[in-house]
């Protein structure tokens, strides 16, 4: 079992990364974690998910359970500052996560953009999620506002 907080550096325990320190093209090393049945249950409870999807009578996990781990991929390479704001998310679903079994996942990514809009600094990064056996689960792009002023 991998609780997301076990692999994610937390805000406030070290100096956070300034906007100018995010380097476009930086590879984000692979992180391995296990999405357990218990994590799926906790995730559904936390967001109030009422009706579980099924496939042939078998319960599926909301694949958005992966969002619990998404920032860990970035923050393990670039420590998070306080005051980060989520700006945009895109997800392409590629494979199922079952709610009645544990799923071992490998995720890695890359910083793909850094830009300024209206005197605010944004960082965009991509993550690929797959099972440890290599079966694709999802691709994501995320854009965050990073406090710290103009570069």
């Amino acid at each position: 079992m991998t609780h997301p907080s076990e692999i994610k550096p937390r805000e406030g325990y070290a100096r956070g990364t300034r906007p100018s320190e995010f380097i476009v093209g930086t590879r984000l090393p692979a992180v391995h974690f296990t999405v357990t049945r218990a994590i799926v249950v906790d995730y559904c409870a936390a967001i109030g998910w009422k009706v579980m999807p099924t496939r042939d009578g078998r319960p599926l996990a909301p694949t958005t359970v992966l969002t619990l781990y998404q920032t860990a991929i970035l923050y393990r390479r670039f420590l998070p500052p306080q005051g980060v704001i989520l700006r945009e998310q895109e997800w392409w679903w590629k494979g199922l996560v079952w709610a009645d079994e544990d799923t071992t996942v490998e995720a890695d990514g890359e910083v793909v953009d850094r830009f300024e809009r209206r005197q605010k600094q944004y960082v965009k990064w991509a993550v690929e999620f797959r099972t440890n056996e290599g079966r694709p689960i999802a691709s994501s792009l995320c854009t965050l506002y990073i406090p710290g002023g103009s570069s």
Binding site: E6, Y13, D42, P62, I85, W93
Partner: protein
């Protein structure tokens, strides 16, 4: 036909989500700090909204959506503790998320299109 889903956002639900995902950003827990940053009070984790959007999307498009679907969401205003959010998705996949008094907090798209970031992106702002 537009489908909708309502969800109450409370400080308790924000705390619960943050405890689960390990987010320690004080914007979610410290109202005074959040106000010092220009917000009305503590704000919800944006990914809480994405979860609710996804719940509605998969209920409309079926479980196959989790094998070759797409969802994109752009946050344009904060959701505060105490807000009831309303997620709406129309037949074209257009997503609108409202909070108190009809205030739009996020817009996006959910489709059954597969692919990946190189095939379909909404661009940066």
């Amino acid at each position: 036909m537009t489908g909708t889903l309502r969800r109450q956002i409370t400080q308790e639900s924000i705390n619960r989500y943050g405890e689960l995902n390990g987010d320690n950003d004080q914007l979610h827990y410290d109202a005074e700090y959040a106000r010092s940053r220009g917000f009305e009070g503590t704000i919800a984790h944006g990914l809480m909204l994405l979860g609710t959007v996804t719940e509605l999307a998969v209920s409309r498009m079926g479980s196959a959506w989790f094998e070759q679907g797409y969802v994109g969401l752009k946050w344009i205003a904060p959701t505060h503790a105490g807000d009831e959010i309303v997620v709406a998705i129309d037949d074209a996949g257009k997503i609108e998320v409202y909070a108190a008094a009809g205030r739009v907090v996020a817009l996006g798209t959910a489709t059954s299109a597969g692919g990946g970031p190189s095939d379909q992106t909404s661009g940066s702002e």
